[in-house]
């Protein structure tokens, strides 16, 4: 049985995260650290300490917004942003789900929209997200303003060869 650390490193498929010497540059530059329960460098430590459940069930991995400041500044080239992607995917695959439920629901609505038309149609994607999340009324005034300005149209052009798009979704589906 693989350790959590081995599993994460294998999925990152790059610089092993134990190269981190906890200078905390990633945390110092992280624009989301203020909202996270665990700082980015602490997540590395937690993985080394085999805290699988705690890491995968944390909100931290969902709040990472992939700005890539951490990997840009890391003196040891530890790809923290990629690590966060890997952890999110492990949380989905192992059925832990997302502590930040609406963030995952947004991603699901977004991808479902691509699967439907090949391209994002912003209004239908937003309606789908709102129904999934139950957050029905936020941003209504903004939406109406954009609709009035002709920025939101229900009939934006779609990809014609939808067979190839659906094939991509089917072939990359995670078990």
């Amino acid at each position: 049985m693989k350790t959590f650390l081995e599993e994460v490193n294998e999925k990152i498929n790059g610089v092993p995260i134990q190269r981190c010497y906890h200078c905390r540059k990633c945390t110092a530059g992280c624009p989301m650290a203020f909202a996270m329960e665990h700082n980015p460098n602490r997540v590395v430590k937690m993985i080394q300490m085999e805290k699988r459940e705690e890491v995968l069930a944390s909100g931290t991995i969902w709040l990472c917004v992939s700005c890539e400041t951490c990997i840009t500044r890391c003196p040891n080239e530890v790809d923290i942003a990629r690590m966060m992607d890997v952890l999110r995917q492990m949380a989905i695959e192992t059925g832990v789900g997302a502590k930040e439920k609406n963030i995952l629901k947004f991603h699901e609505a977004f991808l479902a929209n691509i699967r439907m038309g090949g391209r994002i149609n912003e209004p239908t994607m937003m309606v789908h997200y709102k129904l999934k999340s139950g957050d029905l009324f936020s941003d209504m005034a903004m939406g109406i303003d954009m609709f009035r300005k002709g920025k939101l149209s229900l009939i934006s052009p779609r990809t014609r060869d939808m067979k190839s798009v659906r094939r991509i979704f089917e072939k990359t589906r995670q078990s």
Partner: protein, 282 residues
């Protein structure tokens, strides 16, 4: 010059003024745009956050389609640009992944089409002198800060666009247009990106800080090259007096005396027209 054009989903919707201004400016600078045949979405943050292979296969489908023409690919959206560059990076580094993605997408990937942002094309291919020659109305009194955000620049060895900590290409374009560009330290700070819908309160806090710092730098507007940055800066400021935000191409079109800018400005949430009228630029 002739380039393949990937507008991406935003430029057909909420960022249509970016699409229209890119087309208008490109035409004036002699850049012919040829839209990639039957393109599809790049997958954006949602694909790479949840499914690595999907996040490579979606841009790969478009790259393979683009490779039918032997020309560079212009991608104005910083988010799409980043996903394409990331896919290119992984496909060129990992032959096993490349073979798998080619099977999934059903086509061969050569890596022959260079992925480029219009800022890079204007500075490096068209040249700032050629741009300067087209300026008929200098943007005097406009004091922008350049806001590059995250996705044009990071990670630097993938994007290979400009200095990752202190980029200057956009500043140079704005200076040529006659704007009085203000220096500031927040060029590459994050706006909160796609969390704007699901974690709005966090994004409001981030945007407020950027607005405050822009004011402190003496700016009267912000300039971006990213539809996500634009949406957040333009719509998520909690203060009533958020500064106006422009796509750099809107300002280029204005300085070149083109038809169109006033109609594009009308689409912004924070109306920039009072500022421009005050400076006699509209």
């Amino acid at each position: 010059m002739k380039v393949s054009y990937y507008p991406g989903c935003s430029l057909h919707g909420t960022a249509k003024e970016y699409d229209q201004s890119v087309r208008s400016v490109s035409h004036a600078l002699g850049i012919e745009l040829e839209e990639i045949e039957d393109w599809s979405c790049c997958g954006a943050t949602s694909a790479h956050s949840t499914n690595f292979k999907l996040s490579i296969a979606l841009p790969a489908r478009n790259l393979i389609a683009a490779e039918k023409k032997a020309q560079d690919v212009m991608i104005p959206c910083a988010a799409c640009f980043n996903r394409f560059k990331t896919a290119e990076h992984h496909l060129s580094q990992d032959p096993e992944l490349k073979a798998e993605i080619e099977e999934i997408v059903g086509g061969r990937y050569q890596g022959s089409a260079a992925i480029r942002n219009p800022i890079d094309i204007i500075v490096r291919d068209i040249g700032l002198e050629a741009l300067a020659a087209k300026v008929v109305k200098r943007l005097a009194g406009l004091k922008p800060v350049s806001y590059y955000g995250c996705l044009l620049l990071r990670p630097p060895d993938v994007c290979r666009f400009d200095d990752a900590e202190n980029p200057v290409l956009l500043d140079r374009i704005l200076a040529v247009l006659g704007a009085e560009v203000r220096p500031w330290s927040f060029k590459t700070d994050c706006c909160g990106g796609s969390l704007t819908i699901s974690k709005t309160e966090i994004v409001v806090r981030m945007v407020d800080k950027l607005m405050e710092m822009a004011r402190e730098a003496g700016a009267n507007c912000l300039v971006t090259a990213c539809p996500v940055c634009m949406a957040n800066l333009d719509m998520r400021s909690s203060k009533d007096a958020g500064l106006p935000v422009f796509y750099f191409t809107e300002l280029a079109a204005l300085a070149m005396g083109q038809e169109g800018p006033e109609g594009w400005f009308r689409l912004h949430r924070t109306d920039p027209r009072p500022l421009l009228k005050g400076l006699q630029l509209l």
